[in-house]
């Protein structure tokens, strides 16, 4: 599909609204399909480059993505509109669920269902981490840093900020020395 440059504010809003509502348990794979394949907002290569940026910068990935895509087509106002499009409906839904939980969460049947859902939710998060880790097998030395940060956060319970600022420079240094040498 050809590249388009004239994406309007309302198209951005409803596009991200649709992306947000079609994804359960994370929406990034849906976002790619919608923006690259269905709507032709971005080329595949542009998507990958922006996705790299959104992963590398702090903040929720898909939210970063909406800011970048909105800004690309309509500047600052486009970024705001895209962000709102992505968040409005899910926020309303989650507040409704939160209110129901506050009201009925104590019922034994709801507690039983939530126990089952929690066990599945834990598995979904673990599977996402393992899938990401599989990409790292090409650079096995870096898995040491994954393990270190896991131990520091889960077992030692150190604050994330300190751990991050300690480990990130080390990990980047090893990457530079070991895997991305100057030509």
């Amino acid at each position: 599909m050809g590249q388009r440059q004239d994406i309007s504010h309302s198209e951005l809003f409803w596009g991200f609204n649709r992306i947000a509502l079609s994804g359960f348990g994370g929406v990034m794979s849906w976002a790619r399909r919608a923006m690259v394949e269905e709507r032709g907002w971005l080329s595949s290569e542009e998507f990958t480059s922006l996705f790299g940026l959104c992963q590398f910068m702090p903040g929720p990935n898909i939210i970063n993505m909406s800011v970048c895509v909105g800004a690309r087509f309509q500047g600052a106002s486009g970024a705001v509109v895209s962000l709102l499009g992505l968040l409005c409906a899910p926020v309303i839904i989650i507040i409704a669920l939160g209110a129901l939980y506050g009201r009925f969460g104590g019922l034994p049947a709801i507690q039983a269902m939530l126990r089952g859902i929690s066990a599945v939710a834990a598995g979904l998060i673990l599977a996402m981490g393992l899938r990401m880790a599989a990409d790292l097998l090409k650079r096995p030395l870096l898995l040491v840093f994954s393990a270190l940060i896991l131990v520091a956060v889960v077992f030692l319970r150190w604050p994330l900020l300190a751990v991050m600022f300690g480990l990130a420079p080390a990990s980047i240094w090893v990457t530079a020395r070991r895997y991305c040498r100057a030509p």
Binding site: F24, M57, N64, L87, I94, G98, M132, I149
Partner: protein, 173 residues
Amino acid sequence: MNVVAEIILQFGMLSLVAFGGAGAVLPEMHRMAVETHHWMDDATFTQLVAISQAAPGPNAIIVTLIGWHVAGLSGALAATTAMCGPSSLLIFIFMRFWEKIRGTRWRLIIQTGISPLAIGLVLASGCIITRGADDGWGAYGLTAATVLIVLKSRLNPLWLIGLGALLGLAGFV
């Protein structure tokens, strides 16, 4: 300090260290909400995460739910804005620079070097949620089965969440 101000401050800081997305800072949210501020107990935190996973939209809306639970509507809006605002502003500014260094060696190094930390943090989140959620062989089995099914198939996770709810109701977990 007023609880809404506390929420804005805590999630605002979290926004700027959330490398790897909201899933990666779940352990820090847990530390903050359960251990530091005693906003809720371990079981409640885990259930809120489960609800947010079962709802459509970005994973980041877990913060909306935490904010709602702690301080109602103002808490929900404050948490959402604080979690998304600072990082959005940062990427808006950084975007142009990133496009400028496209294809350079340093961009690749930083991108590659940061990824193992993001991965470690997502796995850490999985461990903490498992610890909070599972208290018997049935639950551990269900978590393990979920991992296997997700890795081996392309089944929509919503089916698994529904199955989890049924198994819970049936007293399996």
